[in-house]
Amino acid sequence: MCHQSVGLIARVVEAAGIPTLCMTSALDITQSVNPPRAVFVNFPLGHQTGKPHEPELQRRIVGDAMEAFQTIAEPGSIVQLAYVWDVNDRSWEDTDYTAGFLPERPPKEDADKAEAERRGRFVQ
């Protein structure tokens, strides 16, 4: 759903006169919503600009995206980057976003408690 939302916003912003570029890891959803410019990385959802604590990988992906910003000349283009999540194990592709994959949404009381705890940390 994130990919659809981002693509919809990009189209509105682009129509208002500001060039946009969308990152994507869900190629079929991005193809469907059809934003002006997109860069695809075949990583599990939640890692569109790389793995945690790997700043060099993140830097390369984001740098490639900025480069694509100026090389894409055809509206609706999706540049596919060659990064591979794990060269020895592609099993994530079979399990990402399948049944039982997402955790249950916490009950409201737990969410309120977590939020109060976080906000408490930043009270002046």
């Binding site: 939302s5 509105v12 208002a16 060039p19 600009t49 509206p75």
Partner: protein
């Protein structure tokens, strides 16, 4: 092979009527980049549900957004989203909100300037109409006020 997320979503929510994804078969809107990216003021937005310090969390079908100061640190950011596994993004926001990397690209001169603030919302919104007609115009206003030259969006 890229994962086909549209059929996966259909299976995951098989108890419900199939979700009708937005299909845009037209040529998308187009505004050419006016100058090299190294001279552009670039704004960053993530749909990963990023929160700064004491900002309120996102709710279901929440089409609001948050302003995230450009200088925000990892310790000042949290994640509130139930449409993806947030463990890695919580540990390092740069997985879905590459704020630190964009600051580095600004320092290196690869981009002209990183706009302040950056933006975040919770992208798991079923109503495409709500995103298009309520949220997107507000973002356009923000970007115009900030005189942004280019807009970089990262889903989660």
């Amino acid at each position: 092979m890229p994962v086909q997320y549209i059929p996966r979503t259909r299976e995951l929510y098989s108890d419900f009527a199939p979700y009708r994804w937005v299909v845009n078969a037209d040529t998308p809107p187009w505004t050419p980049l006016a100058k090299p990216i190294s001279q552009c003021k670039v704004a960053l937005m993530s749909s990963g549900g990023i929160l700064y310090r004491d900002q309120p969390r996102f709710h279901r079908e929440d089409a609001s957004y948050r302003r995230i100061p450009k200088a925000a640190t990892q310790a000042e950011l949290d994640v509130w989203h139930f449409g993806y596994l947030t463990k890695d993004a919580k540990a390092d926001h740069n997985c879905v909100f590459p704020l630190a990397r964009m600051r580095e690209l600004e320092t290196e001169g690869m981009i002209g300037e990183l706009a302040d603030p950056a933006y975040s919302f919770m992208g798991g919104i079923y109503s495409g109409r709500k995103v298009r007609d309520e949220l997107a115009p507000k973002i356009v206003d923000e970007l115009k006020r900030a005189r942004v030259d280019a807009f970089y969006l990262v889903p989660a």
